[in-house]
């Protein structure tokens, strides 16, 4: 047998082994959590998941999507637990019977980001005022446009500011259809305004000339909820492990782990589970 054929066979054999070994290897108990880009990209999961694994032995596999997509993946039965931040969408998810209950976990807040020069003059004002001025000035604005929790919050903000996006939008309004990070990259490159969650902003490194212009408004409150996918809808849901994860998240230990996560000394998420 010649060298070429031998090496080909070896390659094939290796390939077969590789394919066979991945599903067969005894894996520890694991669950799939559909969550948002903000929790993943802010680094929160990298901080809390090892703690949960050490305690329970359960591996948590996070698929980071926009809130809308994450809920859809759970509706199809492709996740055991969802951790997202769009209260009305979460309540709809429960009402449809895809989850039996929704629990508060934590919150952070949204911030309005823009160029330091602030040509639209929104710095320090309220959200309502800011969005009204942005539309009036037709200042470049980057929208997530991806049905994420942040996108929902942005759309609510226009509405509350009395801006009818359908008629007001034009060249100044850039709908990028991507996650928080890419949207911030775009805003940074364009010197545009953008609504962002504080967590992703704090961990974002390519800020360029951008800075926080509006923060602390009660309307910018951004609560996260967690839900176990209803096993009656999808029998494959890992109820025991999924519930263990939720129980841990809302336990004093899990809540402390969330509060502990800081970037540059700044806390990103604030625990909000009801004391049971």
């Amino acid at each position: 047998m010649d060298l070429f054929r031998r090496s080909f066979l070896t390659l094939g054999l290796l390939a077969a082994l590789g394919a066979a070994s991945s599903p067969v290897r005894a894996e520890p108990a694991s669950i799939v959590v559909a969550s948002t880009t903000s929790t993943e990209q802010s680094g929160l999961f990298k901080h809390i998941l090892p703690l949960f694994k050490a305690k329970s032995g359960i591996e948590v596999k996070v698929v980071a999507l926009g809130t809308g997509q994450a809920l859809d993946a759970a509706r199809r039965g492709d996740a055991d637990v969802v951790l997202v931040h769009d209260r009305p969408a979460e309540e709809k998810f429960v009402a449809e019977g895809f989850a039996k209950a929704r629990q508060d976990v934590m919150y952070n807040d949204f911030v309005v980001i823009g160029p330091k020069a602030d040509p639209a003059g929104i710095k320090g004002g309220s959200v309502e005022e800011a969005f009204r001025k942005l539309a009036a000035a037709k200042a470049p604005f980057v929208s997530r446009g991806d049905r994420s929790g942040t996108h929902s919050a942005e759309l609510r903000s226009w509405k509350e500011a009395g801006v009818d996006l359908a008629s007001a939008r034009g060249d100044w309004y850039r709908d990028v259809g991507q996650g928080m990070g890419p949207a911030l990259n775009t805003a940074s490159a364009l010197g545009a305004y953008i609504l962002a969650d504080r967590g992703t902003w704090l961990s974002f490194k390519n800020r360029g000339d951008l800075t926080i212009l509006v923060e602390g408004d009660a309307r910018l409150f951004n609560p996260y909820g967690v839900m176990l996918v209803n096993p009656d809808k999808h029998p494959t849901v890992k109820v025991k492990e999924g519930q263990a994860f939720i129980d841990w998240l809302v336990s004093p230990e899990g809540q402390a782990a969330i509060a502990d996560y800081k970037i540059g000394g700044e806390q990103l998420f604030f625990p909000s589970a009801k004391k049971g």
Binding site: L3, S22, P23, V62, G77, D78, G181, N206
Partner: protein, 231 residues
């Protein structure tokens, strides 16, 4: 800009075990997919090259068009098939490395088949007369021609590997970019870009390029040896 590149180089030295694990997963997934692509694509391409049947021109055209199959479409279709609500949901393959292998194999197979068909058709043009005089069946002719053109087919394997290891659309959708499980070089680069950590993204890109170069160099050396010894 130059600061980003400087940071990139300094970070190349400090890449940790995470990155090695990601690189290894990328390599494992893509090599497995290419292995499957070769096993399916070479016989398929060779058979299409030597067989004569009605509608062959259409099949060849389709095969060539499938070389341009968009990865994200392959990912999406596979996602719907493997989803718990899809026909193969019971297998529980979504968001696993196996799903990523399947996606890349779907991309690699038509590419290998189309390139093989071309190589074998050319080889047949040279040897056709003799082969036909032997009155061999189409599969036997295909077998002889594959053996004859074996060194040229390495290029098909490398092209398939290049397509597999560099694509992101399919692995992102069916793998889910799960940290420590289905995060590959391309999805990791994309994630770091999204986080605005451009220097780390570039450093990962350099690692990916090195990986591709190493595989190509290994193939070239192997081919060189084989040609010298048995060509």
């Amino acid at each position: 800009m130059s600061q980003t590149f400087q940071e990139t180089f300094s970070r190349l030295w400090t890449l940790d075990r995470d990155v090695l694990a990601i690189a290894w997963l990328s390599l494992r997934v893509s090599l497995t997919a290419v292995g499957i692509g070769l096993l399916l694509g070479i016989p398929l391409g060779a058979l299409i090259a030597v067989a004569r049947f009605p509608g062959r021109g259409v099949v060849v055209g389709l095969l060539n068009a499938f070389m341009g199959l968009p990865p994200v479409i392959v990912g999406l279709v596979l996602y719907l098939l493997l989803s718990r609500s899809g026909p193969f949901g019971a297998l529980g393959l979504l968001f696993t490395p196996s799903a990523m292998v399947a996606a890349q194999a779907l991309l690699a197979t038509p590419l290998v088949a189309a390139l093989t068909r071309q190589v074998i058709a050319d080889a047949e043009a040279h040897l056709g007369e003799q082969l036909r005089s032997l009155r061999l069946s189409a599969p036997r002719r295909a077998g002889v021609l594959i053996y004859d053109a074996r060194f040229s087919l390495v290029t098909a394997a490398l092209a398939a590997f290049g397509r597999a290891i560099s694509e992101i659309g399919a692995v992102l959708v069916v793998g889910g970019n799960i940290d420590g499980h289905t995060r590959t070089m391309t999805t990791a680069i994309s994630l770091e870009t999204q986080k605005g950590d451009l220097s780390l993204a570039l450093a990962l890109g350099a690692v990916l390029m090195a990986l591709v170069l190493a595989v190509n160099a290994a193939a070239a050396i192997l081919r060189g040896h084989a040609v010298r010894a048995y060509g």
